[in-house]
């Protein structure tokens, strides 16, 4: 099937190349979570800092926000059109920024790769030194804290994880909620 747009109740929908299978919402429940506040110092690498803060903790995955802070260097991706019918939209080449970068907002999922190692998924918005707006898929292992400390809040949960699995509908590898055995 060729990917294309359709319409439902006046709103544009998108038909991906793969099969659209039910259920459309995948969900699991856990009884509670553990809260974590992480303040990363100037010049630190954000992925390394977050993973170090999580080291030794019992958790399946975590979700949270970038609360405030700045960056000296970052790399992010925006969605572009491709010529691949199975994946007609994908992330383009990285946009790299240096200098004084101020965070406006950001969301993080700490998932798991196929082997169970932590995997960071982050979208964020920020202003560069000229006041220009930027937002997209942020690569945390290329993000260096700058100007001021970066504060992140995470909600850690166990027994359930967001784990990467191939998605036949979109042809992306995506985070899915899965049950984890008690460790």
């Amino acid at each position: 099937m060729t990917p294309h747009f359709a319409e439902r109740a006046g709103v544009r929908t998108f038909i991906h190349e793969g099969p659209s299978l039910a259920p459309r919402l995948l969900d699991l429940e856990v009884p509670s979570c553990e809260e974590l506040r992480i303040v990363l110092p100037l010049a630190s690498n954000v992925a390394a800092g977050v993973l170090k803060a999580l080291e030794g903790r019992r958790y399946g995955s975590a979700v949270g926000r970038i609360l405030c802070g700045g960056a000296a260097h970052l790399s992010y991706h925006r969605m572009i059109v491709t010529d691949q019918p199975e994946r007609p939209y994908d992330y383009g080449q990285p946009v790299v920024l240096d200098g004084y970068i101020t965070f406006i907002s950001g969301a993080i999922t700490v998932g798991r790769d196929a082997r169970g190692a932590p995997l960071l998924h982050c979208h964020a918005g920020f202003l560069d030194r000229n006041g220009e707006q930027h937002g997209g898929h942020l690569v945390l292992d290329k993000l260096i804290v700058g100007s001021e400390p970066l504060t992140i809040r995470l909600c850690l949960f166990d027994q359930v994880a967001y784990q990467v699995q191939p998605d036949a509908e979109t042809h992306f590898n995506l985070l899915h909620p899965v049950l984890k055995e008690l460790s």
Binding site: V11, T13, F14, P31, V63, A107, Q133, F157
Partner: protein
């Protein structure tokens, strides 16, 4: 601007309870999905704890002098940078910051039925349990 107070504030003691960890597949509306998840898990009121993903197009709004003003964010591939707010069946109020494919930022109230998942949305909700 000065407006007379006509109602008492609602102050609730309580705590956060269960988490619902979800993935929304393509073409699912953010607000409708959040309410469906709460209904399925027997949750009366929830807060958004996490939201990462993309939308086909974004439809936001804000209250202007002449009512709700619409902000259309053309996609596809409108990136969700943050979502916050409360889920209450039929009366949810969610706000979002999103970015278009040029990286330009937009913010506002999410309009029901008009913010459909493009590739995926990781959405995590947490129950509010008043004492």
């Amino acid at each position: 601007m000065s407006v007379a107070v006509t109602e008492d504030s609602l102050v609730q003691d309580g705590r956060l309870g269960r988490l619902v960890i979800a993935r929304l597949k393509p073409n699912e509306d953010l607000i409708d999905s959040a309410e469906a998840l709460c209904k399925e898990h027997g949750i009366a009121l929830a807060v958004v704890r996490g939201g990462v993903g993309s939308l086909i197009d974004g439809q936001l709004s804000y209250l202007g002098r002449e009512g709700m003003i619409q902000i259309h964010v053309p996609g596809p591939g409108v990136e969700i940078l943050s979502v916050s707010g409360e889920i209450l069946s039929g009366a949810s109020r969610l706000q979002a910051v999103v970015a278009d494919a040029d990286g330009k930022l937009y913010a506002g109230r999410l309009e029901r039925g008009k913010n459909l998942t493009f590739i995926t949305v990781e959405l995590t909700l947490q129950e509010w349990l008043p004492d």
